[in-house]
């Protein structure tokens, strides 16, 4: 089920990689499959971020690429020759089916296998997860969720049994998680919080000590094997929590050990002495290390979690990524639907199990379950913590809806199972006991509730499938629209432009474009670019922004400095494609103006005196003369776009453009695609520049 529902885009379009980020992953995987692991690990990429280059080996999470390449090699070994592109496209759905299986196991550990089945079914189709794992969305999250859930399952297993074996397996799973996604930091903080909560509530036991210490030690040293992580686990604040809890574990255990050996009076004395000593050392050490700079303060992304306006004001790049915007309630519903409602139900049922024994359980079961109740409480408590963390964070970042999805699935699974078993039981007892009156009424209520739940579940299923098909299945690289007669028109402009670049420009040509398209250009056109989606160098991106936002002369200076041969822009005015560069232009201005050399670029210059952003004759003259404007609207003034509208009518901004008939001084138009979506310009060499 999980696999099939993600295949919409493959059926509609073809087996391509979607969006932007996955293109980078695809390119690196191709490199890995061709060149082998050692070359991959030491790869220095000169084609991106000209002239700086990028150390690929040290700046990525290799898990995804290694997994795909491993599958690819295994299949080839078995003589099933499947192309690497198809491997990448279908990897995400494959892993989501694995995820469903793991969700089953996880929920089974937490409550029982009935809940497991329900949770697995939820997980297979919940839109929040599907959005990042459709066929073609070849990105880290596809396998990361699988890794995360398997790490959790193994953690719970190891806490339950207290055996070193499961703990080591858990740390190996954690290693896999670290290798696949930057979000592993959640795990390394949640698990200590769980342990801490257990200590605080008095449920600390030898088992937890064994499990946590093993997982922390082995897991940390494993995680440092990934070059990107390096020494962070002992240097950054994000990992300090785990270390702190580790220390606390040692202390608590040691103290408990002494308690069991000493008599009460002795113990009290010892306790006092130790308490002050340890407290002083601990706080002193942490304070000293932080102040002296050994432990880096929290990074920008985490700041924006705690204070959403921080990014907007200080670091425009983080703010401009749409996935970092705060989540709206409607997207909560859109992604999780039923689960949003079942979630409070589960909280209640969890509370029930947590605080008191249920009346519904028969007495004999209660005695047997005394011990397993203890386990239950423990794990549901852990899930509380999981929830707390995830409830605070998703409101701040849409991307993290993805992480909330499995939690919701599991909890909803438990909740639904609980409801159903409760009411089903009543149905059964009625049949067996054959009483009338109160029991009879109970039966009708039960049937009613069961029916209601079934209806809700099927609604959820259909909602999820609809959402997947409509919203999340389009590969942004191939667009489609309905023509005037209802038939489907396919816009393949992106690929058309990239292949033109690939075939008609010299091999060492350098292309300047906005960073969104960087990965695609290197992957498909195979040309050197200035900035790409990795966005690790804000100054460089800001330079590009300045070039786009300045007049032709100033821009020419910048382009000469950066050795640019071609410039690529995306223009949607002819077709009505709304994520084009003019719509992104204000971000270019903001980012361009955010560094020293761009201080002359002020956002307010590009607005009309009344504060609107307009491209027609009322628009600001600075806007009408900047390079981006000229590149997008060159020759557009002679084109009819819609009936009954004048020439040069921009269908996205719904305005006739202001500056129509102009000539370009420093650029030559090199190529414009069929629907004018991608426009490529060649920079004139110094000798041909007309003043």
């Amino acid at each position: 089920l999980a696999f099939c529902v993600r295949l919409f885009s493959v059926l509609r379009f073809e087996s391509v990689i979607h969006e932007f980020d996955p293109y980078f992953n695809y390119r690196t995987t191709r490199f890995l499959a061709e060149k082998g692991f050692y070359d991959f690990h030491n790869w220095f990429d000169e084609m991106a971020w000209y002239p700086l280059g990028r150390i690929i080996g040290g700046t990525i999470y290799p898990g995804l690429m290694v997994t795909a390449a491993a599958f690819y090699n295994v299949l080839h070994y078995l003589n099933l020759t499947i192309d690497i592109r198809n491997m990448c496209v279908f990897l995400a759905p494959l892993f989501s089916s694995f995820t469903a299986i793991v969700t089953y196991h996880l929920t089974k550990e937490l409550s029982n296998s009935g809940a497991g089945l329900v949770a697995a079914a939820f997980m297979a189709i919940v839109p929040g997860y599907i959005s990042r794992s459709v066929a073609g969305s070849y990105d880290n999250e596809g396998i990361a969720i699988f890794c995360m859930l398997i790490t959790y399952t193994l953690w719970i297993k190891s806490v339950k049994t207290g055996s070193i074996f499961w703990s080591v397996l858990c740390s190996l799973a954690y290693f896999y998680m670290v290798s696949s996604w930057g979000g592993y930091v959640f795990l390394i903080n949640l698990i200590p919080i769980h342990v801490l909560a257990c200590i605080v509530t008095g449920r600390f036991s030898h088992r937890i000590y064994v499990a946590y210490t093993t997982v922390y030690c082995v897991g940390t040293i494993l995680s440092m094997q990934i070059s990107f992580v390096g020494f962070q686990p002992v240097q950054t604040s994000e990992h300090m929590g785990a270390l702190g809890v580790f220390g606390i574990c040692q202390i608590v255990s040691f103290v408990a050990y002494l308690k069991s050996k000493l008599s009460a009076a002795h113990y009290a004395i010892f306790w006092q002495a130790l308490y002050y000593l340890v407290g002083a050392i601990f706080f002193g050490a942490v304070g000293f290390l932080t102040l002296s700079g050994k432990i880096a303060p929290w990074t920008g992304r985490f700041y924006s979690l705690l204070d959403p306006s921080y990014a907007k004001n200080n670091i425009p790049i983080i703010a401009s990524v749409s996935e970092h915007q705060p989540t709206t309630w409607s997207s909560f519903y859109f992604d999780l639907q039923m689960l949003v409602f079942l979630f409070p139900v589960t909280i209640c049922s969890v509370f029930f199990l947590f605080t008191m024994d249920l009346e519904i359980m028969e007495k004999s079961m209660m005695i047997k379950n005394g011990i397993s109740n203890f386990f239950c409480d423990l794990f549901q408590f852990q899930y509380f913590n999981h929830l707390k963390m995830f409830l605070t964070i998703p409101p701040y970042q849409v991307r993290l809806m993805l992480v909330l999805a499995p939690v919701m699935a599991v909890l909803a699974g438990i909740g639904v199972n609980h409801i159903l078993t409760t009411f089903m039981k009543n149905l059964d007892t009625v049949v067996v006991k054959d009483k009338k009156g109160l029991q009879g009424r109970f039966a009708t209520i039960s049937t009613g509730v069961v029916l209601l739940v079934s209806v809700l579940l099927s609604l959820f299923a259909s909602h999820s499938v609809w959402v997947t098909s409509e919203a999340y299945s389009s590969p942004s690289i191939v667009l489609s629209a309905r023509g005037g007669d209802g038939g489907r028109i396919i816009f393949d402009d992106f690929r058309e432009a990239y292949y033109w670049l690939r075939q008609n420009t010299p091999e060492n040509a350098k292309v300047m474009s906005w960073w969104d398209y960087g990965y695609q250009i290197t992957a498909m056109a195979n040309r050197t670019i200035l900035v790409d989606n990795n966005t690790w160098n804000n100054t460089h991106i800001s330079r590009v922004g300045q070039a786009m936002a300045s007049t032709e002369d100033k821009a020419y200076e910048i382009m000469r400095e950066l050795d640019v041969d071609y410039v690529l822009v995306i223009f949607g005015g002819l077709t009505g494609y709304s994520s084009d560069d003019i719509n992104k232009f204000l971000w270019m201005v903001r980012i361009g103006g955010s560094t020293d050399r761009g201080a002359h670029i002020k956002e307010s210059d590009y607005y009309t005196p009344t504060g609107e952003f307009r491209v027609d004759a009322e628009g600001s003259p600075v806007l009408q003369n900047c390079m981006m404007y000229k590149m997008c609207y060159y020759r557009f003034g002679q084109v009819y776009t819609e009936q009954s509208k004048p020439t040069g009518y921009d269908r996205v901004r719904n305005a006739e453009i202001g500056n129509k008939d102009f000539e370009l001084d420093v650029l030559d138009e090199a190529y414009t695609t069929e629907h004018w979506i991608v426009r490529i310009y060649k920079v004139r060499p110094q000798s041909l520049k007309t003043i």
């Binding site: 207290g162 074996f165 088992r207 000590y209 020494f231 002494l258």
Partner: protein, 114 residues
């Protein structure tokens, strides 16, 4: 509380320890002390000489810490007083797990030492 102080408590504790703990646990405890001393020496060396190369220091130090921790876990699991906490794990199984964890640990340490 004033009549006894920390030293008498400590001496009594040590005396009890010598007499009451079984032989197996004492072996593990001496191993623990050895690891502890090694770890402290590594740390002192690093503090005196500097942190280059950091990865070697880290891997050595963490290998000490991890060995210490694993030995403590083994001790916990083998101790008959704790048997009600570790129902499903016989002492032999605990030792086997201990070895397994050490294999993984040392593989990683060797990779990391550089």
């Amino acid at each position: 509380m004033a009549s006894e102080n920390i030293f008498s408590v400590a001496t009594k504790f040590v005396g009890d320890y010598m007499t009451k703990t079984p032989q197996k646990l004492k072996v593990i405890d001496s191993y623990l002390t050895y690891i502890l001393i090694t770890g402290v020496m590594q740390f002192l060396y690093c503090a005196l000489v500097g942190t280059f190369p950091f990865n070697s220091f880290l891997s050595g130090f963490i290998s000490c810490v991890a060995s210490f921790v694993l030995a403590v876990n083994l001790r916990l699991q083998v101790n008959p007083e704790n048997s009600k906490d570790f129902k499903s794990i016989a002492p032999e199984r605990a030792f086997a797990d201990f070895l397994f964890a050490h294999v993984v640990l040392h593989l990683v340490v060797i990779n990391f030492i550089g």
